[in-house]
């Protein structure tokens, strides 16, 4: 099947008109998408953004006609090359799926068959759609695998999915989608599960392949920066509706919908500052599909809401005159002064940074692991942390950044006492806690170091009310003399994390992600913790909620003078809220300094690459792209010499083969800025900034 004869390439390749989709559960009909329209022209990349649950995936799956047993298209049409997909027979659909429309999903591991070789899964597509012979199909598979820039394609096509890394798996999923050279590619959050440097590689690849094959794309993401990198046009969704659509520059620079504006104000762009220009979170919560307000869905959270007008009737899409197909779903778009600064941005006082409360010296953590699946084989040593030394002060936020597997979480576990260090010391208030496992630490020490986890869902007991869980924590920390006292403290903690007191009675499943994370924070602060380790506390949350939760952490920190160790891979948020930053790679601290020192040159070569990989949703920012080749080496088998030498682009500037033979020393530059690299100071001084803000 190639293009249908009746289709004229100047017409949209995908035209969705007034699409409504509902899920029918036993209780009720859930209208997940309402009156959604969008057009994708040939060769165009359309970005679909919005908070989770707004219906992005539902739209994508509707295009594939894959809504499951409960989902149904209840209105509108989806035209692909002029043919209506909603009325197509199963057999016709089957010919289009995979050959003309292909889809790439969020979790590469789950979308590959674990019991089939990668090559077989790839070769299946052309064998099915163009009747290619098996040998030819495998040859094509090998070629496409090379096209998606995977090393050693012959080995890869003969591997099983679990033998590949996450980034490689996602490249395979992309290769699979490209096997039949589809006209339309749907990508549903293709990089969410991946590290930034891997993500950057995948995004480059997708863009390049899109241009090479002239494929149109529907790119779903909640990351505005990514959408800017990849897409020509954007469609912002809110609660099942498109609220604003237009080309990317126009929407980013001249947004005409209050929700889009609020979204941009809630993300940490360069220039945001936790004290002078804090983020503004969107108040309230996203309405559930069956509890939408009358009139404008965004009404209850909108700063420009006007009673009697915004809640009177359904809002239609208004075209913005003099623009390139720019439309907005707001009654008041023409009246609002879009350039006015936000009204309620409160400037906060900078917290005092006090004395040293936590000190680590030459901390090492090695794990010994056995090789084989059944416990056979030789023992290997994984050096999860190599000679970590640092100090953290009272009231300070120290960020620890690095890709997954670089040892961030091990470090947190050692500090928490969930693991014992191999050597070195950890001093807390001059009390050496290094080799004391948590069971043996006294409650005082335990309550002074607390943790907020990435996934609030995993750490709350599902069968215990919120209030009960906080009281449990208070009991463990031996807080208060009586139950009444603890109950009182629990209510205060709820106030502290800005949850209504009535939430004490709720069960965890009745809370949203952001609310659960607040409970997690309340628990961590229950014992008056002096040091809080936050392990990716907001990465599972939506941007608008992220802002609120980070703000909350900052407020509590300011009040309690807590030392916050903020573990994250999201450099935007790190730049926004931390005082000092520590960059880790393969268990080594490769760079450490104040936020300004780390985010401006001279950089450690790894930091430079990391910074250049972060997508930034600002059209004025120019980024230098540094692509990191290959994957992060296995911690079981690190390279000799500098841990970063396998991917470093500066290596040639170091005389001899020092980088390959010797672990670099820590150079201390001006202002205590530390860089673990062999590069000379002269060369370091020549480094250019990765991010430039263009003059307006």
């Amino acid at each position: 099947m190639t293009s249908s004869p009746t289709w004229d390439p100047s017409q949209p390749i995908l035209e969705i008109e007034h699409l409504s989709i509902s899920f029918f559960t036993r209780l009720r009909e859930i209208p997940a998408v309402m009156d959604f329209s969008c057009k994708v022209m040939a060769g165009e990349a359309m970005g679909l953004v919005g908070e989770s649950g707004c219906g992005k995936s539902t739209v994508a799956l509707a295009v594939m006609r894959e809504l499951g047993k409960t989902g149904r298209i209840v209105g509108g049409s989806i035209k692909f090359k002029g043919r209506d997909l909603t009325t197509m027979s199963a057999e016709e659909l089957r010919h289009i799926r995979g050959s003309e429309i292909a889809m790439i999903y969020q979790e590469p591991m789950a979308s590959l068959n674990p019991a089939m070789k990668v090559g077989a899964q790839l070769a299946e597509v052309p064998m099915l759609h163009s009747g290619m012979s098996k040998a030819d199909a495998w040859k094509l598979a090998r070629q496409i695998v090379a096209d998606v820039r995977l090393p050693d394609p012959d080995r890869i096509i003969n591997s099983y999915p679990h033998q590949l890394s996450g980034g490689q798996q996602q490249r395979i999923v992309i290769a699979m989608a490209l096997m039949a050279k589809p006209a339309l590619l749907i990508l549903d959050e293709p990089t969410t599960a991946l590290d930034v440097t891997v993500e950057a590689g995948i995004v480059d690849l997708v863009k390049e392949l899109g241009e090479k094959y002239g494929t149109s794309m529907l790119f779903i993401s909640h990351n505005l920066g990514l959408v800017m990198d990849v897409c020509d046009r954007i469609c912002v969704m809110y609660s099942g509706e498109a609220v604003e659509t237009g080309n990317v520059e126009q929407v980013f620079d001249e947004m005409r919908h209050p929700y889009t504006q609020a979204l941009f104000r809630s993300i940490p762009l360069p220039g945001a500052d936790k004290n002078a220009r804090p983020l503004i979170s969107i108040p309230g919560n996203f309405p559930l599909p069956h509890e939408r307000p009358p009139g404008c869905n965004f009404g209850p959270r909108c700063d420009y809401f006007q009673k009697g007008r915004c809640d009177a009737a359904e809002v239609p899409m208004f075209p913005v005159p003099g623009s390139d197909r720019h439309e907005t779903r707001c009654f008041r778009w023409a009246e609002i002064d879009w350039d006015a600064p936000p009204a309620k941005r409160e400037v906060k006082e900078k917290a005092e940074i006090g004395r040293v409360v936590l000190k680590m010296e030459d901390l090492r953590k090695y794990y010994s692991v056995s090789g084989g699946a059944f416990g056979g084989g030789t023992k290997k040593v994984v050096k999860a942390n190599e000679t970590l030394s640092f100090e953290a002060h009272e009231g300070e936020t120290l960020a620890i950044v690095g890709e997954s597997g670089c040892g961030k979480s091990t470090f947190a576990k050692v500090l928490m006492g969930l693991e014992t260090a191999t050597s070195g010391s950890i001093m807390l208030f001059d009390e050496n806690v290094q080799s004391t496992p948590i069971q043996k630490r006294n409650t005082d020490t335990v309550s002074q170091v607390q943790m907020v986890f990435q996934n609030p869902f995993d750490t709350l007991n599902p069968s215990m009310s919120v209030g009960r869980q906080i009281i449990r924590a208070l009991e463990i920390f031996k807080y208060g003399k009586s139950d009444e006292e603890r109950h009182q403290r629990m209510l205060e903690l709820l106030d502290l994390v800005k949850l209504p007191r009535a939430f004490a009675e709720r069960m965890p499943r009745q809370l949203s992600g952001g609310q659960k994370q607040r409970v997690g924070i309340a628990r961590a602060f229950a014992g008056g913790a002096k040091v809080v380790v936050a392990d990716e506390p907001v990465s599972a949350l939506d941007v608008s909620v992220q802002a609120a939760v980070t703000d909350l952490l900052m407020d509590i920190q300011r009040e309690n003078k807590t030392t916050l160790l903020f573990i994250s891979h999201d450099l935007s948020i790190v730049r926004y809220l931390s005082d000092r930053v520590m960059v880790m790679y393969l268990g080594h601290v490769v760079e450490m300094g104040t936020t300004d020192q780390v985010f401006s040159p001279p950089y450690h070569p790894y930091t430079e690459a990391l910074l250049s990989a972060v997508p930034i949703a600002d059209t004025h920012v120019q980024r230098k792209r540094i692509v990191l080749e290959g994957d992060i080496p296995s911690a079981m088998n690190p390279p000799p010499g500098c841990p970063f030498q396998t991917r470093c682009r500066w290596k040639s500037q170091v005389p001899g083969n020092l980088c390959e033979t010797e672990v670099p020393p820590v150079q201390v530059l001006e202002g205590g800025h530390q860089i673990k690299c062999h590069l000379s100071r002269e060369i370091l001084a020549t480094m250019e900034p990765v991010i430039k803000i263009a003059a307006e």
Partner: protein, 362 residues
């Protein structure tokens, strides 16, 4: 791989020793020995005579030592009575104790003398095991394909009419124990007075007074035919079919909701191919283990069915050994059972590794 198998074999050996010891201990409890003394000696023996008999025939002393003798790692007992005759585990009266081997247990191939068969245990057991082997083979050949097909068919479209029909059948068949289904099958197909046989006879399809299937499988000992073997095989298989089909169904429905199945569908793979190529192998990983673990369960069915159909195999032997207090035979049966159970576990572990590429041996 070799190391893994070796290690598993080691663990198996220990388990086998522990299990057989338990059986040895239970069969050699004092009341059993007294009963043995009275059957071997005379029913009217006095208490003391019984105790003497037990002592003179090597049944006294530490149970560990006796177990060791039975295994063949402890020298066999000898007893010299007041007349100067010496008896022992390893030789008959009249033979010269000096020329007899010191050890004579399982390891030396001396499995004892069956009081029920009046023959060495090893000789009689071999033949019975072969008979049961044929039965098991037939059961497996019927049970495994049927149950997998049923399970896959009902699991590939959860909630469909096919699924509900097949699931009902599976549940009914596992819920019926062998002694019930055996009797029902016999009544239906192998009784001259009830079921379908009188009807068939009336229509002249079979001879009058004959039955469609035979209610006794004794003739199958010499010559297996469809008519004498079908009922015992079906009786055992029915139970297993339901069980394995349900496991397969559960595994299949789970696999069908996996994302990679969606990927396959969205590649445009036809439903049949999705099931055959993408779902099947993944769906069979769990039932495979279940099938292997089903083997020991079959032994259980074998005991009932062999007694019911009078098929003189291993299960029948076990029943006879138990009811006749034939200790050496009982012990031998338990050794066989333990080995079968442990071997199937090993096969199941190894097979799992081969089916599941995510587990590879170093």
């Amino acid at each position: 791989m070799g190391l893994f198998v070796l290690r598993r074999l080691g663990v198996m050996l220990l388990t086998a020793i522990a299990l057989t010891f338990v059986v040895f201990f239970l069969t050699n409890l004092q009341p059993n020995l007294e009963k043995l003394a009275r059957t071997e000696g005379s029913v009217r023996m006095s208490e003391e005579a019984v105790q003497d008999w037990i002592e003179q025939n090597g049944h006294s002393g530490s149970v560990f030592l006796r177990y060791g003798q039975w295994l063949g790692v402890v020298p066999g007992w000898t007893y010299t009575d007041e007349k100067g005759d010496t008896r022992g585990r390893c030789f008959q009266i009249g033979e010269d104790p000096a020329t007899a081997p010191r050890y004579c247990g399982l390891l030396q191939g001396n499995w004892g003398y069956s009081t029920f068969f009046k023959a060495p245990v090893l000789d009689s057991l071999g033949e019975k095991l072969a008979a049961t082997g044929w039965l098991m083979l037939a059961v497996m050949l019927v049970m495994v394909p049927t149950s997998l097909i049923l399970g896959v068919l009902s699991g590939m479209r959860e909630g469909s009419v096919t699924d509900r029909t097949l699931s009902t059948f599976s549940i009914a068949s596992t819920a019926t124990p062998e002694y019930v289904s055996g009797v029902v099958l016999v009544a239906l197909f192998a009784t001259a007075a009830t079921g379908i046989s009188p009807l068939l006879a009336e229509w002249g399809l079979i001879e009058p007074k004959k039955t469609l299937f035979l209610a006794s499988a004794t003739s199958a000992m010499d010559d297996i035919t469809f008519w004498n073997f079908a009922l015992p095989v079906m009786t055992i298989a029915l139970y297993g079919i339901g069980y394995i089909a349900r496991m397969t169904r559960a595994s299949m429905t789970e696999v069908m909701t996996q994302q990679y199945i969606r990927t396959a569908r969205l590649k445009g793979v036809p439903f049949r191919t999705v099931v055959m190529r993408h779902a099947l192998r993944n769906a069979l990983i769990a039932p495979f283990t279940v099938i292997m673990l089903q083997f020991p369960w079959l032994l259980n069915g074998v005991v009932i069915v062999e007694s019911l159909f009078n098929y003189k195999g291993f299960g029948w032997t076990l029943v006879q050994a138990a009811s006749n207090n034939d200790i050496p035979l009982l012990l031998a049966c338990s050794v066989v059972a333990v080995v079968v159970v442990l071997l199937t576990q090993l096969i199941s572990d190894i097979g799992y590794v081969f089916l599941n590429p995510r587990i590879r041996l170093a």
